[in-house]
Symmetry: D2
Subunit: 151 residues, 4 copies
C-alpha cells in the first residue's frame, strides 16, 4: 500500500524530541531506533531492571515499549502543533519474553481526525533470531488546544 504521507514534514525530529522527554523510557533503558511515517521501532535491552519474578522481561515492560511505539507511530502522521495521548490499549502476551533485547515495531492501522488505531508487534531477539512475544493494539487521541499537551 506504500507508506502514508506525513502531514508534518518535521515528524521525525518531533518524535525524537518528544521521546527524549519521556522519563520512563530513560528509566527502563529503551531506545528509539526507527522513525518512519506511521511506523516506529523501540528497543529495550533485557536487563534484570525490567524483569518480573521468573526472570522474563515483565509484561508491563513489553507494554511500555509497545504502547509508546504505537503512540509515536500515530504522532508521526498527525499535523504539527498537537499532542498525542493513549486512550486505551490491549496487549496479548504470546510467549515468555527471554532474549538479548525486545523490539517493539508499531504501524498505524487507521489514522482518523480524532482517533488513530495502531498495532505493535514485540519480538524477543536472541543471537539475531527474532520471536514474536506480544501483540498490542492501541487507540491514540489527537489532542488540540489543551495547554501543556503538545508534542
Amino acid at each position: 500500500m506504500g507508506a502514508p504521507t506525513p502531514k508534518n514534514p518535521e515528524f521525525e525530529a518531533l518524535v525524537r524530541g518528544s521521546f527524549a522527554k519521556q522519563g520512563l523510557m530513560k528509566t527502563i533503558g529503551a531506545d528509539l531506533t526507527r522513525v518512519l511515517p506511521g511506523a516506529i521501532e523501540i528497543v529495550l535491552p533485557a536487563s534484570p531492571a525490567v524483569m518480573q519474578q521468573h526472570g522474563f522481561v515483565h509484561a508491563a515492560a513489553l507494554a511500555a515499549i509497545a504502547d509508546n511505539a504505537a503512540g509515536y507511530a500515530a504522532l508521526s502522521l498527525m499535523p504539527a502543533g498537537v499532542g498525542v495521548l493513549t486512550t486505551e490499549f490491549k496487549i496479548n502476551l504470546l510467549a515468555p519474553a527471554t532474549g538479548d533485547r525486545m523490539l517493539a515495531r508499531a504501524h498505524v492501522v487507521k489514522a482518523g481526525q480524532t482517533l488513530t488505531v495502531a498495532q505493535t508487534e514485540v519480538f524477543a531477539e536472541t543471537a539475531g533470531q527474532e520471536k514474536l512475544v506480544a501483540l498490542l493494539t492501541a487507540t491514540l487521541m489527537t489532542v488540540t488546544g489543551r495547554p501543556g499537551v503538545v508534542d
Copy 2:
C-alpha cells in the same frame, strides 16, 4: 459477597516474596502496600522517572502497577507451588495522571482453575484526594509443572 478464601495459607508471604524479586518494580519505584485474599494495592510515587513527554505519569507506568496488582490478586487465590503469568490485559486511560502518587487496587473477578480474570482501578492521589485515572482488566494463567515458573 465477603472475601474469598485463599487456598494457600501462606499467600501473603508468597506474594510479598515474589514482588520483591521483580526488577521492574524496583526500577520504577513501586511498593506493594496491601495484600489481601484476592485484593492487592500497589503504590507508585509520581516522579519524573515514570513520566511521559507532557509531565503526566506514563500510561505504561500505570499499566505496570495495574497489571502487577491484578497478577498478585490472582496469585493470592492460587494453590501453593504454581506460577502466575499474564496472558493479556486491557487498560483504559480515563484522565491525565497527575498527582503525588498513583494507587493501583486490584480485585479478582473470577478465579478459574486455569484462568483468572482480575480488574484494577488506578487512582491519582493529590493531597489525600483520589481520582480514578485508569481501569485495567487482565487474564492471568495458573502455570503448573513448568520449571522456573513458580512463585
Copy 3:
C-alpha cells in the same frame, strides 16, 4: 456517589427510541428493560437462535447486548442532538452462558466530552438465580455534526 445528572432531560425517550430502531436487537430478540442516567439493562432470552455449537449462548450474543447497554448508558448522559458510536470494546467470558435469559447491566465509568468509558456485567439467570458470565469495557464516542449520525 449518587446517580449522575443527565444533560438531556429527555434521555429515556431518546434511548428507547434509538433502541427501537436497531434491527440487530429485534433480530436476536433483546429487550431494553431499564433506562437510568448512566445505567442501562438489556435482557436476552436464551433461545437456540442465539446459541453457539455447544448449546451455550454465543459469546458474540453476550457482546451484542453488553456493547449496546454500554452505548446507551453513555448516550443517556450526552447532550441532546448528538450521536453515539462504539469505538472499541473488550469482553472477557467468565463462564459458559447457560440459563433462561441473559441480563446485561451497564454503567458509565467516565463521561468525557468526546469519549465515554462504560462497563457492562452480563449475568445468566436460571430460575431467578444470577451468575456473572461476562465483563465488557467499551469506549463510546460523542459524534456531533455528522449528518445521519444522530440519536
Copy 4:
C-alpha cells in the same frame, strides 16, 4: 511463513459442521466462505436485520462474525476431540460499516497448547471494493475432557 500444518486432517469438515450448529450465525444470516488451516472467512450481508440505529451494520454484528472467524481459525489447528471456547476478545471499530456485505478474515497469530491468539480483519465490501472497518484480537481456549464441549 507458509500455512501452518493442521493436526486434524478432517479440520475443514469439523469447522463446517460446527458452524452449521450455531443458531446465532443462522439468525444473523452469516455464511462460512473459506476454511484453510489457521485462516477463516465469514461473510455477512448488510441487511437491516443486523443494523444499529443510524443504518450502519451494528458493531456487535461485526464482532459476531469476527469472533467466530477467530474461533474457527483456532479450531482448525487444534487436535481432534477437543472443543474451542472464546475466553476474551477486543475489537476496534475503524469506520462506519456500510456496504453490501461484511467480510471477516481471521488468522492464527499463535497456537499454544491451551491458548490460541487469533486476529480478524473485517472489511465492508461495496461494489467489489473492500474497506477495513474493524480489527479484532481474540484468545481462544482448547477445552479437553469437558462433556458437551466438543466440536
